[in-house]
Every structure is written in C-alpha cells, then in structure tokens.
Subunit: 451 residues, 2 copies
C-alpha cells in the first residue's frame, strides 16, 4: 500500500476533507488561510450548486452555469490541494483515508490525516425498491440532471413521431415523485417547458396537453413550510398545468408505467415513460462505514449521529457533517436537521473554525443551526418563502427567491455572471465549462457517494 | 410498413431534407416561405456550429453555446416539421426515405417525398485502421467533443495523482493527428489550456510541461492555405508549446501509446493516454447507398459524384450536397470542394433555390462555389487568414477570425449573445441548452451519419 506524501507548504497539521459540496467547500475555504495543509477529495472535479441542478434537468441552465471547477476555486491557495478520487473507507487508528483503486498502481491508495472532515452528502432513497432506480431519473447529480433533460425532451420527440394515441399520451405524461422543494420545482419546470417553451415547436402533438403529475405521500406539498404556503404552492402548480396528487403513494414503477395508491387504497396504473424521483434520503455509505468502525448510531436513512461539535464519538479528530449526519445537541438530544445547503454551509464553517480554534488551544461552543428560512420556486414569477417572521408567496416570493439565489451564486465568484461573461472569457484565457462528465458515469441509476 | 402522413399546411410539394447541418439548414431556411411542405430529418435535436465544436472539447465553450435546437429555429415556420429520426435508406422508385426502426411500432418507418435533399455530412476516416477509433477521440460531433474535454482534463487529474514519472509524463502527452484547421486549432487550445488556464491548479505537476504533438503527414500544416501562412501557423503553435511534427505518419495507436514514422522511415513510440483524431474524411454511408441505388460514382472517401445542379444522375428529384459529394462542373469535370461550412451553406441555398425555380418552371444555372477564403485560429490573439486578395497572420488575422465567426453566429439568431443573455432567458421562458445528448450515444467511436 502506498500512502500519498503530503506536500505541506504551510503547517504540519494535515486536514483531509471528503466531498466538495456546500459543507466541504466552506470548511476548506475557512482553512485556506490557516496554518494547515488541506487535501480536498472528491469524485467530481467540480462543485455543483445543487439547488439549481433541477434547472439543468429542464434545459433552463447549462451544466457549466451551476458548477464550478474545484481546482479553479483553490488555484490561489497554496496550502490546498484537490484530489480527484473516490474515498472508499478509513483506517481510524492509522488516521488514513482509503481510496478506491484507480487502475494505476502508481496512484496512492491512502491519504493520511491529522484531522478528517467527511462531508459526502446523500442520495435518494427508493424505500427498499432498488429496482425502481432503473426506471426513474434524478436531478441530484450533474450527470443525472443531464440525463433527465434528455429524457424529457426525447419523450416529446417520441410523442411527435408516434401515431398510436395511447403511446402518444404515455410519452406526454410526466410523473414527479416527492412533494418537497425539488419535486415542486421540477414539476413546475416541466409544466412551463410544455406550456411555454415548446408550445410552437411540434406539428403532430400539442405540448400544452402534457400531463405533469406530482406525487406526494402526505396530505400537503412542501412539508417543511407552513400549511398556508403549501396550499399556495399547490394552487400555483395547478395554474401551470401540474396535477398535485396528495395522500398518494407509488407502489410500483416499470418501464411503461407507474402504479399509484390513494389514501383509500385504490390503485391506478398511469402509463408514462418519464419518472423523476425526488423522494427520500439515503446518507452516503461512508456514514455507515464510520458508524461501524467507531460504534456510532445509524438511523433508518443511513445517517450517523455525531457529537455536538460534529465529531465522531471517541474520535475528536474526525468531523462529519451535512445531510449524512444527525447532530447531538448540547443537551444530548439527537437533532435531525433539514438536508439543505444552509445546514451544510454552517456546519462546514463550524468545522473549519473548530480546527483553527483547536490549533490555538481555544474552546468552541457546540454547533447550533441558525434557520434562516425556506424558499421554493413554483414557476415563472411564483414562489413561496418562509422566513419565520415573514411569509411570502407569488411574485414577491419569487423575487426573494431570485435575490437569495443570486446572493449565494455571487458568493461563488459571481457565478451568476459567469455565463453572462462567456464572451469575455473566450477572448481571455478563462473557461467556465471545465466539467469532467465521464460518459460511463452518466447513468440514471448512479448513487453518488459525494456531492 | 407505415409511411408518415404529411400534414402539408402549405403546398402539396413535399420536400424531405436529411441532415440539420449547415447545408440542410440553409436549404430549409430558403424553403420556409416557399409553397412546399418541408420535413427535416436529423438524428440530433440540434444544429451544431461545428467550426467551434473544438472549443467545447477544451472547455472554452459550453455545449449549448455552439448548438441550437432545430425545433426552435423553425417553431414559427408552419410548413416545416422536424423529425428526430435516423434515415437509413431510400426507395427511389417509391420516393420514400426509410427510417431506422425506433423500437416503437407506432412510429412510421418511411417518409415520402417529391424532392429529397440529402445533406448527411461526413465523419473522420481512420485509413483502414478501424481499431484506432477505440483509442482516439474526435471533436466532430457534440458527444465526442464533450468526451474529449473530459479526457483531456482527466489526464491532468491522473498525472496529479500518479507517482511514477513515466506514467505522469504519458498522461501529460497529448497527440493531435491531422494538421488541417481542426487539428491546428485543437492543438493550440490544448497548449493554451496547459500553459494558462490550468497553470496554478495543480500541486504535484506543472501543467506547463505538458507536451502537445501535432502530427501531419505532409510537409506543412494547413495544406489549403498558402505556404507562407502554413509556416506562420507552425511558428505560432511552437510559441504556445505545441510541437508540430511534419512529414510524420501515425502507424499504430493503442491505449498506451502512438507509434510515429518520420519521412526517413524511422519509428518512434510515444507513450500517451490522449489521442485526438482530426485527419481524413469519410462521407456519410448514405452517399454509398445512393450511389449503389442509382449507379453513381463513389470516390475513395466514400463521396458520391453528383450533377452540376447537385442532383443524383437520373434522379433530378434527389439533391445531394455538402462534404458527402463531389460535384460535376458545367464542363463535366468532377470537382472536389473543401469540406467546410461555406461550401455546404452555398449548396444548401442553391438546393432551396433550385426547388423554388422548378416550381415556377424557371431554369437554374449550375452550382458554382464562391471561395471567400480560409481562416484558422492558432491560439489567443493568433490566427491565419487567406482571402485570396489578402493574407493576414497574428493579431489582425485573429480579429478577422473573431469577426467572421461572430458574423456567422449572428446569422443564427444572435447565437453569440445567447449565452450572454442567459439571465434574461432565465427570467423569461427561453432556454438555450436544449440538447439531447443520449448517454449511450456518448461514445468516442461513434460514426455520425448526419451532422
């Protein structure tokens, strides 16, 4: 076994961060001016702005609009190195991260650390029906979002060619599973695509007749929002041609149809070729791996319980964060925080600060999540916003949604303007689209271990 | 067999166009106001601005920057319909285009025509070494350009991880085969990527040490340009770190290396993981299909010889154009025109005009190509331009190159500004990135039948 030799240009303390998502990235950014050497490991060469990946899935944005090369983010930070590799396990005693074999013996298979941050994210859960993955698409990773975009557009193309009315209707039926923010936003985007973007594009079919079904098991959409906003979201979706189906459960999916069961137990088979899955959460398998190594508690969604400072019980040098963990609060109660970017961002910053505090011998207060609110967009000019002290819907909420996302994008080197600036980057040496999208990895059934 | 029923909203004369490249597109645009009904058949749902696809292959542009959805181009033309299908053959007597089976029996397998335009383009030729396709990448189709981009970036990533100096050097060696415009531009872009874009991105390797070899069988680059500009291109490439290897032939390619042979017959094995192929032309197999059906002449590159009005001998109702044909001139001499966009554009316009003339009973003069000149870019601020009456190199040539490409892009609904306008299209209903990139079709070995 060969371990990576670290080239610590500053500081002997080696921090290894697994995952270049919101949590990992914020931790690294916090540490780039600290007296440590940082190694960021990710399976992708880019950070994905996941809250907008559903827009890639409907062609509203290009992949490069919602991704940023990790190397470009840290090109100026000499104490940060990026490794494109797949973390597959740990040796907690030797303090090493194991890498999956890269097929080249000269590539190291272990990376030593003094402090480890694991922020490997989650994937969707199919509630024990792994066979459904084969027939459902997702928008969680860049590759799967690209696939969803192609699948939706291809369904309209097949409908245009089909002469059988039944086949045509099946092609024009889109089923989105999961009434959370991603499902709501995705269903709304498909509705707008059919009703507006593609309106005049076909000759045999009328795209505005497309059915978009949004399936939600509970009795309302956006369960994390106040009930009044859930109801506004439902009505907003109906206005743009989406049919929200509440109290409805998916009981089967195959390549030709979805079987739904309503609250009374009545079943309906819906012929469809396009199912978008946005339900359930399954934490990265690295959570279970760590739990087994250190004897930590794992919940039904595969999330590991960590201490109030995000550390693994018995291993203060291992910090785990994001939607792969539940956090014990200062009173010892286990909290399940929402799987959203703000939680990961705050935990990433916390982990970075904790490491710096420890180097200075300072104490750090337990992690505390500051919930700034929830936003979800429904369609053009429509959204719902819940800031606790303020609830908005309709156009004001949509403007707020836009401002909030622009704000976060601007946090990422004015990403909103990266696409606007492509002409100037074309004239200079800049490149906005450096994404490694391995064709073999473009697979709807993919389970990302880090995103 | 079921034939497509045409929904001619204007005119009973049915024109079928195969291929949404430069030639097919111009023909359709010329016919959209004519009293005919047009069916455009392509395997892709977008037109590719192929002269810039090499910039996708180096991450300088996003796929959506150099592609435009065919449906969006003709959404306002009621007499034009677009079919996403694969034309596989013809019944010249029945006047029908055969479509490859789509896996759905309700989809027609034939499209009837009164006039047929075949503009199915070409792919690269491997000079009888089909086994090389497996190890070489291309930039001719969108899918292959995306793959090349990933391969080049992945090679730098593997080099960063590799500890063996030999493996590292092989990863940092890039071989471009073919010293025509595409090869020159591709090699220049890789040079710039290594020397500038990635300069500060790595910690173990120095990207500026990457070797970029440009292999050309003849004694100069850009054979279609004057010798003085070829020499300027060679020196320009050397200045950005590219090594042009003239009088050099590729004699073998495998997954680990390329074997080169110089003019004296001396062989050298170059370890490399990345070979970009930009040599030779193989016309669409539809050229051979038509030649066999109508007894037409096929040359070594698979090009069909057509009459001076672009028609198939004995079949005035079948027009074939672009880089899949050679054209008999007014004197009966067979001309081989360069495989560039201006030839296809002029032939597409000619074909459209010919059809309109025929409907009016008017005669059309034989096709004549107006050569407006040659341009090729070498790197940032460097290009060569040959307009016949004017030869430019360096910065003035590069500015001319930029203006010419912007001009053609503007011809495509201000495409240059499509990316600049993404924010506005985000606010409105527009989408600039509606590309169907089938994951299964993303394959380096792909032979496009129409582009």
């Amino acid at each position: 076994m060969s371990a990576l030799s670290t080239n610590a240009t500053r500081g002997d303390h080696r921090v290894v961060v697994i995952g270049g998502g919101f949590g990992g990235l914020r931790a690294v950014r916090h540490l780039r001016d600290a007296p440590v050497s940082v190694t960021l490991i990710d399976r992708r060469n880019f950070h994905l702005f996941q809250p907008l990946s559903y827009q890639v899935a409907t062609g509203a944005l290009s992949p490069s609009d919602v991704a940023y090369p990790l190397r470009a983010l840290f090109a100026g930070s000499d104490n940060v190195r990026v490794l494109l590799a797949d973390a597959s396990g740990f040796d907690l005693d030797a303090r090493e991260v194991r890498l999956a074999p890269a097929g080249d013996e000269s590539i190291p298979d272990a990376v030593p650390y003094d402090t480890l941050i694991v922020a490997a994210g989650s994937s969707y859960s199919y509630f024990g029906h792994e066979e459904w993955r084969e027939h459902a698409a997702e928008v969680k990773s860049m590759e799967s979002a690209i696939v969803v975009c192609s699948e939706i557009l291809a369904a309209f193309e097949r409908a245009e060619l089909a002469t059988d009315p039944g086949a045509r209707a099946a092609e024009l039926t889109f089923v989105v599973v999961g009434g959370g923010p991603t499902g709501v936003e995705m269903a709304g985007q498909i509705g707008e695509l059919a009703r507006h973007t593609l309106r005049h594009d076909f000759r045999s079919i009328d795209p505005t007749t497309a059915r978009v079904l949004l399936i939600e098991t509970t009795d309302r959409l956006l369960g994390s929002f106040p009930a009044s906003l859930s109801e506004k979201a439902r009505r907003g979706l109906e206005r743009i041609g989406v049919t929200p189906m509440l109290d409805t459960t998916v009981v089967d999916i195959d390549e030709k149809s979805v079987v739904l069961e309503d609250g009374q137990g009545a079943r309906e088979t819906v012929p469809t070729r396009t199912v978008v899955w946005a339900a359930g959460v399954q934490a990265s398998s690295l959570a279970t791996t760590l739990g087994e190594l250190a004897g930590g508690e794992i919940d039904r969604s595969g999330r590991l319980t960590v201490e109030s400072d995000l550390s693994l019980a018995g291993h203060p040098e291992v910090l785990v964060l994001g939607d792969m963990v539940r956090v014990r609060d200062a009173d010892g109660q286990v909290q399940t925080l929402p799987g959203v970017a703000p939680v990961a961002i705050q935990q990433g910053v916390y982990a970075g600060r904790l490491i710096v505090d420890r180097l200075h011998g300072a104490a750090t207060a337990p992690f505390h999540y500051h919930d700034k609110g929830n936003v979800a967009t429904i369609g053009r000019g429509r959204a719902v916003v819940d800031l606790g002290w303020l609830r908005l819907s309709g156009l004001p909420a949509w403007v707020a949604w836009l401002v909030i996302h622009i704000w976060y994008l601007i946090g990422f080197r004015n990403r909103l303007f990266v696409a606007l600036q492509w002409f100037f980057s074309f004239v200079s040496h800049g490149r906005s689209s450096r994404l490694i999208v391995e064709p073999d990895d473009i697979d709807v059934h993919e389970v990302p271990t880090s995103d």
